[in-house]
């Protein structure tokens, strides 16, 4: 069983996380879910990866991108795996803001 290149840090029943999941399914992307604590202060694993304790956070091994904020992630996935020019979009995404 090979490890999917994409890891999604998520919270059970978090609508922002489900929004990203729908997008991953839309583009038929393999991913591994890591479910984290409801308590913000206990999410050190997320902070180590992304610098923030909010979820969702995506770590995309295809492009080396780590990103928080569902709106940013959806935009990134559209740009990288959608109709747009995938290569240049991925490059742009790495410098896109992390949001609040």
């Amino acid at each position: 069983m090979s490890e999917p290149a994409i890891t999604l840090y998520r919270l059970q029943a978090c609508p922002y996380c489900e929004r990203v999941v729908r997008k991953l399914h839309e583009y038929d992307l393999a991913y591994r879910s890591r479910f984290v604590e409801p308590m913000h202060s206990d999410r050190d694993v997320v902070k180590r990866h992304s610098g923030v304790r909010t979820v969702p956070v995506i770590v995309d091994g295809h492009t080396g991108v780590t990103m928080a904020e569902s709106a940013n992630i959806v935009e990134y996935l559209d740009a990288t795996y959608g109709e747009a020019d995938a290569a240049s979009a991925a490059a742009d995404a790495t410098v896109a803001g992390e949001g609040s």
């Binding site: 069983m1 591994r32 890591r34 984290v36 050190d44 694993v45």
Partner: protein, 173 residues
Amino acid sequence: MVEFDVVELDEAAHPEEGDMAPDFTRPLVNDEYWADVALSELTGEGPVALVFHPMDGAFPATYIWNELRDRDLDAHDVTVVGLSISSPYEHKTLIDERGLADRDVRFFSDPANGVAAEYGIVNDLDGMTGISEPRPATFVVDEDRTVEYAWVASEWPAFPEYDEFEAAVERVA
């Protein structure tokens, strides 16, 4: 031991030493997150000590993990994993309360008890209609998923044969 008869369980048709341990995938919980993991992924990295235990919060779960923690089972070159019907949230509490957060111990969550069915060790709980869990059991499984050691409770309640289990871990580690 107690001075009265305990419940004798029917003989379990569980994997014996030399058999292939059934593979399964369930959420595996550590102190920070949980993710689906297959037993075969763990054995791919080395031998695994697999502990089926009563639901988190029941006193046998407390005693078993206190004992295995105090024996430093995870200090050997094996992957130590528990499995119960408890949810990942309950496993996180168990990890915290048993002082396992900084130890190399993780827990599979199997609320539907399907893994126990695969292993032939389902224990229906009297007085808790609709709930079954694994009977207490310990296995040591090597890199090829071959069972090197198997102990399954033949009565209820029962606790692992800790010395035997630890010796089996030392043989494969």
